[in-house]
Symmetry: C2
Subunit: 314 residues, 2 copies
């Protein structure tokens, strides 16, 4: 089993590569649910859906989120009412939220619904929400108090200064069934190139998860989500700085040093190898920008090799 | 003010005619909400939406419900999951439910949301849900126990024998703001050609409504929803029989005799005039099949004239 701690787009691309070098049935992704929220009464799980749609080959390749060939009739009609249309829900994508909401109202857990949804898409990787309990990443703005993550991320386009991030509900949350086992029993544990603060952070905030990852440190490889000091997507670089970290692979190494024994950094950051290793983490340099499933597969092969695991679908 | 007790399709057609002979701003419809339900987490109000879309000229003329020019991408995508797709929600129609659900979650009452939705569609008639409190028409099947109204009506296509109908929540419900006043102050009160049991029944079940209608009996005109012994749409004829009534305009007269002083019946039932009047209700014979807004307008004119009110938009 190879287990990946996952956020949204970056993790999805990595997993799409990983499933080219290892059988999907050997792969588990423990996915962030701190971004999950309720809008229009619908339960929306952005990271689970991004990973699902990506692994199904159905993602919109231009945006990295949502479905390819999507239509927007519902959002267009919502404009008539002046409704909340800042979070764009395509017509087909809506079906996923309708289904999840209906099944949750019938008593199914998020894990159970996620298994049903991934099965319907023919996704072989096992996606496990890090918790079936509600988590909510809360963003405290430098000016303006607390807002929900999606308000910050989508409505305000992560274009406002952040004073703090916390994961509400984490104290009371339990890891989803199988999550801790998937860490403990993993041949390789991967921290995907996702935002360390708002994607991997909520995963680690669930009681028991951080300790389980620390116990698996020697088998754990992280892929840096920062290339040349900037995030390829999203606000990771800005958030790192605003919250007192260094927006570089060295800053990432400091955050992950107790969790992983290897950090894979991009060739653009080759000059920082010694600085990373000074943090006590072995540093591998490789192309990390996943322009295609094939480049992602090459990266996945390097990650496996880093801790002595072998690619191979045999 | 002319106030109409309203269900779905039949009432919507009548009101579309009425707004051709009286200014919409003079018209109020007190609409059944016993059919309202939650599906996929969305709050759906079928009768309110049918009346709204019809008065806006946006109804699908072939089905009598839903929007013209609708698309079905969300329902099609839901089939992938084997989700609950028996209640067909078009993509544009979904926006209405998304908006209503969002606004209710923000604390708006159903009356308030209904006013917002009708305003967005440019509907001049004031639509008032008979109650802002939850009502649920429960159908007890002869075989199979209790089911929700939409389960009976849509999923089972009202093709199963019914033992009883009750309106859950009616005891605790209050009339919506303005509802009783709209009855008491009406120049003419109309009972639309809707199902007496499952459309008008829940309206009358809200405490205070039946007494208010009885007090307005001399100004109240009902239009029979049964023509030649059968319902033009839906299960009214079958339900009347199954619940011990006569499926005829005479049966309708018996149900409404204390509520209205006039019953308008179709020309097909002209031979039942004396039998209707034997129930203590004046019987007018007129074409009641509303094939167009113009025929509905002619019917509306006859209804107004029956109690001495005049058509006229002046």
């Amino acid at each position: 089993m190879i287990t990946t701690l996952a956020g949204g787009v970056g993790a999805a691309k990595f997993l799409a590569g990983l499933q080219l070098v290892r059988r999907p049935s050997e792969l588990v992704a423990l996915v962030n649910v701190g971004d999950d929220f309720v809008l229009h009464g619908l339960r929306i799980s952005p990271d689970l859906d991004t990973v699902t749609y990506t692994l199904a080959g159905a993602i919109n390749p231009e945006t990295g989120w949502g479905l390819a060939g999507e239509t927007w009739a519902a959002m267009g009609a919502l404009d008539r009412y002046g409704g909340e249309s800042w979070f764009r829900l395509g017509d087909k994508d809506l079906a996923t939220h309708l289904y999840r909401t209906q099944r949750r109202s019938e008593g199914a857990t998020l894990s159970e619904v996620t298994a049903e949804i991934t099965r319907a898409w023919g996704v072989g990787v096992r996606l496990v929400p890090i918790s079936d309990d509600p988590l909510a990443t809360v963003v405290t703005l430098l000016e303006g108090g607390d807002v929900d993550f999606q308000d910050y991320f989508v409505r305000q386009r992560h274009d406002v200064p952040v004073a703090a991030i916390r994961v509400a509900g984490a104290d009371q949350a339990a890891p989803a069934p199988g999550a801790l086992e998937a860490i403990a029993e993993a041949e390789v544990l991967v921290i995907a190139p996702s935002n360390p603060i708002v994607s991997i952070g909520p995963v680690l905030a669930v009681p028991g998860v951080r300790a389980a990852v620390e116990a698996a440190r020697e088998r754990c490889v992280a892929v840096a989500p920062i290339v040349g000091g900037v995030a390829l997507k999203g606000p990771a670089d800005r958030l790192l700085r605003e919250l007192g970290h260094e927006s570089s692979v060295v800053g990432v190494a400091r955050i992950y040093r107790r969790l992983c024994s290897v950090l894979v950094v991009d060739e653009a950051d080759a000059h920082l190898r010694a600085a990373v290793e000074a943090e006590g983490v072995r540093c591998l340099v490789a192309p990390t920008v996943m322009r295609s499933p094939e480049t992602a597969a090459a990266l996945a092969g390097i990650v496996l090799d880093a801790v002595g695991a072998r690619p191979g679908r045999g």
